[in-house]
C-alpha cells in the first residue's frame, strides 16, 4: 500500500477527500492493510484510555502553597 506513511493523517482526518476515498477502497479489499490500520487505531485508543494521571494530594497541596509563597499572597 502506497499510503502507509500517511495512515496517521488518514486516522486523524487530515487527508484530502480523494486520498481518503482511495485508502477506503483499498482497505475494503485488503485485509492485511485493514489490520495494519486497525492496529494503529487501537494503539492510539489504548494510549489515550490509559493516559490520565491523578495528582497525589500531597503534591496538590505543595503546589498550592508554593505558588502562593512565590506570588507572596
Amino acid at each position: 500500500m502506497k499510503c502507509f506513511q500517511r495512515i496517521s493523517e488518514y486516522l486523524d482526518g487530515e487527508l484530502e477527500d480523494n486520498i481518503c476515498r482511495e485508502i477506503d477502497e483499498h482497505l475494503h479489499q485488503c485485509p492485511e492493510c485493514r489490520e495494519y490500520v486497525d492496529s494503529l487505531r487501537k494503539t492510539i485508543q489504548l494510549c489515550k484510555e490509559t493516559a490520565m494521571e491523578e495528582m497525589p494530594i500531597d503534591i496538590h497541596d505543595r503546589i498550592r502553597s508554593k505558588i502562593r509563597e512565590l506570588l507572596r499572597m
Binding site: Q5, D12, E32, T43, T50, E54, I59, H60, I67
Partner: protein, 202 residues
C-alpha cells in the same frame, strides 16, 4: 499569529487575575494542574519532576499573565511553558540523548500476517490488575520514545492538541509534527505488540 477566540471561562479568569483576584489564581490552577501534571509525568517519568514542571509552569505563567494578550489560548500557552520546562529539565539531566526513529525498521517489521494483536482496554473494575499492568506497559513504552517524539505524541494524542497547535507550541513545522507523530505511534504499537508476544501479560 491569528487572533484565537479565547475560552470564555479562561477569558473571565484572566480578566479577574488582572483585576487582582486571588481566587482567579486558584481557579486557573484547579483547571489546568492535572493535565499539566499528566504531561509532566508522561514526559519525565518521575513524580518529583512532574511536580517541578507544574510549579515552574504556573509560576512562570502568573509572572507574565498580566501582559498576556490572549493571542493564543491560555491552555496552549501553559503547555508551551510546560514543554519548555520539560526540555530544560532534560538538558539539565544530560542523560537522555535524542535520537531518530527509523521508519524503515518499523515498516520492515510490519511484513507478516496476524502480528497486530493488541489487547483491549477493559472497563470492568474486576480487571483492575490487568488494567494496571497494561497501563504500566503503555507508560513505559511512551517513556521509551526519544524525547522529541514523546513531546509530539503527548501533545497530540494524550492532550489532544491538533497538528497546527502542536507545531506552534513546539515552534516546528506541521510536517515535522505529522512525521514525528506517525513514527511515535508505530514505535508504540511495536512496543505493545512485542510485550504481548513475549507473554508478559497473559
Amino acid at each position: 499569529m491569528d487572533k484565537v477566540s479565547a475560552d470564555g471561562t479562561d477569558h473571565s479568569l484572566i480578566a479577574a487575575f488582572k483585576a487582582g483576584s486571588t481566587e482567579a489564581i486558584d481557579r486557573i490552577v484547579e483547571r489546568y494542574e492535572n493535565p499539566i501534571f499528566t504531561f509532566g509525568l508522561k514526559m519525565c517519568g518521575h513524580l518529583q519532576d512532574a511536580e517541578d514542571i507544574v510549579q515552574e509552569t504556573f509560576f512562570s505563567a502568573f509572572k507574565y499573565l498580566e501582559s498576556f494578550r490572549e493571542e493564543t489560548k491560555l491552555r496552549n500557552w501553559l503547555f508551551k511553558i510546560a514543554a519548555r520546562a520539560c526540555m530544560r529539565k532534560r538538558r539539565k539531566k544530560k542523560c537522555e540523548p535524542d535520537r531518530e526513529i527509523s521508519l524503515e525498521s518499523l515498516i520492515h517489521k510490519d511484513g507478516s500476517e496476524g502480528k497486530y494483536e493488541i489487547p483491549d482496554w477493559s472497563d470492568d473494575p474486576s480487571d483492575n490488575v490487568l488494567r494496571a499492568e497494561l497501563k504500566e506497559v503503555i507508560d513505559n513504552a511512551i517513556l521509551s520514545l526519544p524525547p522529541k517524539y514523546r513531546l509530539v505524541f503527548n501533545l497530540r494524542d494524550i492532550e489532544g492538541f491538533n497538528t497546527e497547535e502542536t507545531a506552534e507550541l513546539l515552534e516546528i513545522s506541521k510536517q515535522s509534527v505529522k512525521t514525528r507523530l506517525h513514527r511515535a505511534r508505530l514505535f508504540l504499537r511495536e512496543k505493545i505488540i512485542s510485550h504481548y508476544r513475549e507473554g508478559e501479560i497473559q
